[in-house]
Structures are given as structure tokens and as C-alpha cells.
């Protein structure tokens, strides 16, 4: 039987693991009886999801005034949440596509998990602009489809329309990529299924996949193509999200650094979310031999690197504001650091720039509780980054007579909390019903490590 002996380098799969062991440990999770703790977690996140539905219902039936948005702060909590959730998704595509093209084999144990996170995060993100438009039942006007005003079409010169295309394409392609990767594993679940209902459900979902060599040839090409297409796609998505800001003429938004700065921030926050969720999942489901300390350490290194890029971007923004000589631009940045929202700015700097510096130390990088806390703080920091960009730029722009302040209402806060409920609920369903580690890819990696 194919076993893997320990090579000189730190192995990506620990111990004497056979191919069948991989199937047993991954598929076994889906086939086992639902753990009590899963139900407890599901009850909690399900309740939060109901809170989200209640808040959105209240919003639609009462009016957009239940949110704290005002003039001048027309984009407030909702767009902050949108950019935050879209950013979370980016780690999934980075791991599944970019690291694949760079032949980073350590990605294999975590890509399925991260791709699922992408899809759920983009789902949460889409809710916010949908309700931000005020009349969500007319959101289809954003797409170039005939509507009741015959002859009226979207304005393709607007970054907001680019955003609609970028986010919907991103969601669709991520879903295709995820499903493509799932096909062989769904076939494994089908072949192991005992109950009739599992046989039918996994049988239909696996589309009759049988692992023929002729099929694998097209499959691998499709996978390579999707990786190649997703790579520029993921870079484009947050670039286009940043155009929503950068193409306007508002001080604090109108900067050319935004596209790379947003992409780095997105990867930073996404990896933080993968680490937060992964350390819980691997401990709870006993997957320490497949998702090893090396995987976690590598993700922490990515966080350190992208955190440094983000910190550099914060510094450059200030430098350019000063160097431009534009008094409005200078004011916008002084107001960020010293104005009424300075607490948000310094929370952001502390969480995003200072905390990841601890990852320079190997002891911290390989300490599970430490990385869990740091990754949570990075997520807090990255949420505040979007809040700072949006709210501090809008609340004091040009004329002091038009200045204002933004305070979130209880509806704003509960909607944000509810979006976490939806995200985590989808995640719990994923770990319960689908294999959270790509079995076929781990097996292929083991076979090639053995041959090497």
C-alpha cells in the first residue's frame, strides 16, 4: 500500500499516512454522527442569521433611515462591511489559484477550506450593496437587461457598474473553481455512502465522476485554466472595488496607490480569517496531521508580509498627502490621525501594523493560541481600515459648513453581527456536508512526494 516516509524537509502530511487514511480522516468527518458541539454552534450562528434577516426586513419595511447613514456620510457601515467581506474572500482565491500556479504544494490541505470561505464571504458582501441601493427589488437595473424604462441602460463609465461586474464574476468563477475541485471528492463520498439518500445526493452532485485517466487529462487542464483565469481576476476585483473610491475626487480617496493597497489588505485580512477558522476546525475535527504547523506558519508569514505592505501604504498615503501640497488632502489625513475618529485610526494601526510584527518570532508564529488572537485582531483592524477610509474621508471633505459625524445605529451594529452569523452558518454547513480538505489533491501530493 502506498505510504509516505518522512523526507528530509518538513513533510506536509505527518506520520505514516496511507491513501486510505486520508479518505478516512476527511470523509469520516462528513459521515460521522453530528457532534453536539456542532449543534450548539449552529444554534448560535443560526440565531445570528435570523437577526440579519430581521434587520434587513426592518430596513426594507421602514426605510433606509434606520441606518446611521446621513449627508455627508452616505457610505457608512454598509459599504465598510461590503469591502471588508469582499476582502476576506481574497485569501481563498490566492491560495487556490496563485499558489497553485507557483507550485506551492503546502496549499493543498487548506485550499478547499479557503475557497469555501471565499464563496461565503462574497455572499455576505453582496448583501450590503444590494440593500444600500435602497430598493433592492430593482437591483437588476444594474445589469444590462431590459427593464420597465425601455431603452434605459447602465452607465458603463461608472466604477460602481464595474464593481457589479467584478463582484458577480468573482462569485461565479469562485463557485465554478470550487465545484470543479469538489468533483472527485464528491465521487469518493458517493462511493462510500451507505444510506440511499446520501448515494443519490452525492451521486447527482458528483455527475458520475469515475477518475478515468482520459477525464483527469481534461480535468487538470480545466483546473489549470481556472487557476490562470482566477489569478488576474482576484487582483482585478479589489482593484475595481478600490476604483469606487479612487476614481472619485474626494480627498483621502483620490489616490493612485489604492488598487495595490486594497489587494494587499484583502489578502492580509483573508489569511487572518483562514487562520482564525482553521485553528478551530483542525483542533475540533482532529486534522493536525493534514493541516500541520507548517501550513499555519506559512499563512502567518503571508500575514506578516502583507501586513508590512499595508503598513507601508499607510505611510505613503501620509507622505503623498504632505508632498502633494494640496491643503484638502493634507487636512484629510491629519483629520484621520488626530480628528474625532482618531481612535478608529489608531485601532487600525495597532491591529494591522503592530500586531503582525510578533510573527517575526518563530515562537509566536508556531503558537496556536497566539496566532488565533493575532488573526482575530487583524480582522478587527482590517474592518476599521475600511471604516477609516470611508467615514473619515466623507465626514469632513471641503466646506466646514457641510461637515458632519456618523454614528452607527443599533440596526447597523446588529446587521454587521448578523452577517457574521450567516458566514459562520454557511461554514458550519460546509464542514458538516462536504469534505473540507481536498482528498484527491492531498493524495496526488503524497504520491509525488513519495516519487521524489
Amino acid at each position: 500500500m502506498a505510504t509516505v516516509s518522512r523526507p528530509a524537509e518538513t513533510p506536509l502530511v505527518l506520520g505514516e499516512v496511507t491513501l486510505a487514511d486520508v479518505t478516512r480522516s476527511v470523509a469520516g468527518i462528513v459521515e460521522a454522527k453530528t457532534p453536539r458541539a456542532w449543534w450548539a454552534a449552529f444554534a448560535f450562528t443560526g440565531t445570528l442569521t435570523l437577526v440579519l434577516i430581521a434587520m434587513l426586513t426592518y430596513l426594507v419595511t421602514t426605510g433606509i433611515g434606520v441606518w446611521g447613514n446621513n449627508s455627508p456620510v452616505g457610505w457608512a457601515f454598509d459599504i465598510t462591511n461590503f469591502v471588508f467581506w469582499i476582502g476576506i474572500g481574497h485569501a481563498g482565491t490566492l491560495i487556490s489559484a496563485i499558489l497553485y500556479l507557483f507550485r506551492q504544494r503546502w496549499r493543498t490541505s487548506i485550499n478547499r477550506f479557503a475557497e469555501a470561505m471565499t464563496i461565503f464571504a462574497v455572499t455576505c458582501a453582496a448583501i450590503f450593496p444590494l440593500f444600500h441601493v435602497g430598493r433592492p427589488w430593482r437591483a437588476y437595473w444594474l445589469f444590462p437587461v431590459p427593464n420597465q424604462w425601455s431603452g434605459m441602460w447602465p452607465n458603463f463609465r461608472s466604477p460602481l457598474i464595474w464593481d457589479v461586474f467584478a463582484v458577480s464574476t468573482y462569485f461565479t468563477v469562485s463557485l465554478l473553481f470550487w465545484y470543479l475541485g469538489l468533483l472527485p471528492d464528491l465521487a469518493t463520498l458517493r462511493d462510500r455512502a451507505r444510506s440511499r439518500i446520501r448515494q443519490i445526493v452525492y451521486g447527482v452532485l458528483s455527475l458520475g465522476w469515475r477518475g478515468s485517466a482520459r477525464h483527469w487529462r481534461h480535468y487538470e487542464m480545466a483546473y489549470l485554466l481556472l487557476a490562470g483565469l482566477s489569478t488576474p481576476l482576484v487582483l482585478s476585483v479589489h482593484s475595481i472595488v478600490s476604483f469606487d473610491f479612487a476614481v472619485s475626487i474626494l480627498p483621502g480617496w483620490h489616490t493612485t496607490i489604492f488598487p495595490p493597497y486594497f489587494v494587499a489588505g484583502a489578502i492580509f485580512s483573508g489569511f487572518a480569517m483562514v487562520v482564525s477558522l482553521m485553528v478551530i476546525a483542525r483542533w475540533f475535527f482532529g486534522l493536525e496531521h493534514l493541516v500541520t504547523m507548517k501550513h499555519l506558519e506559512n499563512m502567518n508569514k503571508v500575514m506578516l508580509a502583507t501586513g508590512l505592505i499595508v503598513g507601508y501604504a499607510y505611510a505613503v498615503e501620509f507622505f503623498i498627502a504632505w508632498y502633494s501640497g494640496n491643503p484638502y488632502e493634507r487636512f484629510a489625513f491629519m483629520n484621520r490621525a488626530l480628528g474625532p475618529y482618531a481612535w478608529a485610526y489608531w485601532t487600525m494601526v495597532a491591529c494591522n501594523v503592530l500586531m503582525p510584527q510578533l510573527f517575526w518570532f518563530r515562537k509566536v508564529r508556531t503558537n496556536v493560541p497566539a496566532m488565533f488572537v493575532i488573526s482575530l485582531l487583524v480582522n478587527v483592524g482590517m474592518w476599521f481600515e475600511r471604516f477609516v477610509i470611508i467615514v473619515t474621508s466623507l465626514h469632513r471633505d471641503f466646506l466646514p459648513a457641510a461637515w458632519g459625524m456618523f454614528r452607527p445605529t443599533w440596526v447597523d451594529l446588529l446587521t454587521l453581527a448578523g452577517s457574521f452569523g450567516l458566514f459562520l452558518t454557511l461554514f458550519l454547513l460546509f464542514v458538516r456536508f462536504l469534505p473540507m480538505i481536498s482528498m484527491s489533491e492531498v493524495k496526488a501530493m503524497m504520491a509525488s512526494e513519495e516519487a521524489a
Binding site: 491513501l19 463609465r157 465554478l176 473553481f177 462511493d191 485517466a213 480545466a222
Partner: protein, 185 residues
């Protein structure tokens, strides 16, 4: 089973399959069988086995061309859409900008190219593989459930009237195959 028998007996023989224990054994068996003149071989494996394409004499997948064609269709369709809606069907002055220019058309053009190319890659893969398909003769092999776990099945396919299942089974045994079974359609 001889040629005459297969011709008169229903159901038709799809091929003969045997199980191997590792990718290395499978590759070795494929090479030996091809030397013996068996050209229509297929292997069922739990993961893509490196070198199996070459051993089986499979050509490179043409899927890239499908994705390229779809991507170009998406890009040109997006440009046409933006030009026609912006400059012909619904010309609207916004900030004194031209009705159509290539620069602001780049994002949507790119996104639609990626979208269509991705659909072509996935749907093209399914079409070339003849999926979805919910029955296949190989699933009659009693070790079939293992190919999605840790088993490797090698199938000598029925390639015409000259095919002799008994001889194929013998050849599979000779190269180390276990659980040799004749697969019926």
C-alpha cells in the same frame, strides 16, 4: 469468452479490468500492455497519476482553445455592449465624458472575458468527458468503489471484433493485475 460468443451473447463486453496497488505498478502494467499491442486502455485512479497520459498515449487536452475562444467572445461582446448602449441606444452626458472610450471599458471587458472563459473551461471539461453520466460499465467491477479511495483500476477496452476478453484477462494477470473481471455494458 471467444469472439463468436461475445457477438451472439447480450450484453456486449465493454472491456476487462484489473486492480493494481500503486501508481508505479499501474504505469508499469500500462507500458507492458501497450508493448503487447493493447492500445485502447483506460485507467481509473483516485488522483491524476503523473506520467499516465504519456504512458496511455493521450494527447494534450484541447480545452485551452475553447477557453480562448470563449474569452475572446466575452471581450468583444462586452466592448460591443458598452459601445452600443453608451453611444447608440442610450447616449447620456455624464461629467462631459465621451459616450464611448476604451479606457473606462477595460474593467467590464476583462470581467466578461474571464467569466465566459471560465464557463468554457468547466463546461468544456464536462462535455469532453461525457459528464454528467450516471452509469458506466466500470462501476460493475467489485473493486470499483476503491478507485475513489486508494485503488487503481486498469481497463483493457473492447476495441472491435478482434477483441478477445479471455486473452485480455490473461494479459492483465500476466502484468500483475488482481481481481480481473470482464465488464459488461
Amino acid at each position: 469468452m471467444s469472439v463468436e460468443q461475445t457477438a451472439t451473447m447480450a450484453p456486449r463486453v465493454y472491456g476487462v479490468a484489473a486492480e493494481f496497488q500503486s501508481p508505479a505498478e499501474l504505469l508499469e502494467a500500462v507500458r507492458k500492455l501497450r508493448q503487447r499491442g493493447y492500445q485502447r486502455l483506460d485507467a481509473l485512479t483516485p488522483f491524476p497519476v503523473h506520467g499516465l497520459d504519456e504512458a496511455l498515449g493521450l494527447r494534450r487536452s484541447p480545452l485551452g482553445w475553447a477557453a480562448l475562444a470563449a474569452g475572446l467572445t466575452g471581450a468583444s461582446g462586452a466592448l460591443l455592449l458598452q459601445w452600443w448602449t453608451g453611444a447608440v441606444a442610450y447616449p447620456l452626458v455624464v461629467g462631459g465624458k465621451p459616450y464611448f472610450a476604451w479606457q473606462p471599458s477595460v474593467p467590464v471587458t476583462f470581467e466578461l472575458a474571464v467569466l465566459l472563459a471560465s464557463f468554457a473551461a468547466v463546461l468544456g471539461m464536462l462535455a469532453l468527458n461525457g459528464l454528467p453520466r450516471f452509469y458506466h460499465p466500470a462501476s460493475n467491477h467489485k473493486r470499483y468503489p476503491r478507485v475513489s479511495d486508494d485503488g487503481f483500476l486498469l481497463i483493457v477496452e473492447n476495441d472491435g471484433p478482434a477483441f478477445d476478453a479471455a486473452r485480455a484477462a490473461e494479459a492483465l494477470r500476466a502484468v500483475g493485475g488482481q481481481h480481473v473481471e470482464v465488464l459488461e455494458e
